[in-house]
Symmetry: C2
Subunit: 118 residues, 2 copies
Amino acid sequence: MPPRFQKPFNSPACPVEAALGLIGGKWKGIVLYHLLGGTLRFNVIRRYIPGVTQRMLTAQLRELEADGLIVRVVFAEVPPRVEYSLSAKGRTLEPLIMALRAWGEEHVMPSSDAEVAA
Amino acid sequence: MPPRFQKPFNSPACPVEAALGLIGGKWKGIVLYHLLGGTLRFNVIRRYIPGVTQRMLTAQLRELEADGLIVRVVFAEVPPRVEYSLSAKGRTLEPLIMALRAWGEEHVMPSSDAEVAA
DNA sequence: GCCTATAGTATCGAAAAGGATACTGTGATG
DNA sequence: CATCACAGTATCCTTTTCGATACTATAGGC
């Protein structure tokens, strides 16, 4: 059935956009995806994502934290250690991220060998 | 048009970002969502989304079309009529969009709780 | 004494995104 | 005749995003 909604939405009203607003940042998808595997340190994430700059990664992590999706724990050590992990809310994203990944593999990856093996 | 894969990205190639790249545009989520309900004309979509400009809507629709998610049919009439609908590939997004919507409703919407800044 | 690693900031500037406005052509309406 | 609606373009300009680079502090290694 046609899920048609028409509300004034200049304010907070479209849940699809709202969700996309939280996970749609340039690097958020991959960051979240990697964190699905467990706690990671800053530079580990960075090495997982060649191409992201320190500045960008910091910005994305801070946004994810501000949105309550990840947790940032700072250890008062030298050299500094900061660990990132998904919050409870962040973990609720798991099926979504996995669905995104499955869809991407099947419908966008150019290499056409989309093995949807979990 | 942003280059989707400017580099040999990270090792698993990141299908999550690939998917997000297609549906993560500023208005694509809502456009897709409305099209889930069936074929729509340009101005109908526009009226469903107050806040989008003609220029932006055109751009988003063209990108969706270029990515093969929607189909654009022009009728040689006066006044002009152009109809947009989901392609077969676009329809495969339905569960994803619905999941996005459900997650957004549950985890980000103000949902009866305005929470005005203190 | 210098280099490395850590997890960032600060600053600059290029590039892209996005908004506002004006314009197109034609048939029907007033 | 003037105006409206349609589905856009074209142009200009502001805002935001993003990358590159340089810098911080401190401990340990060489």
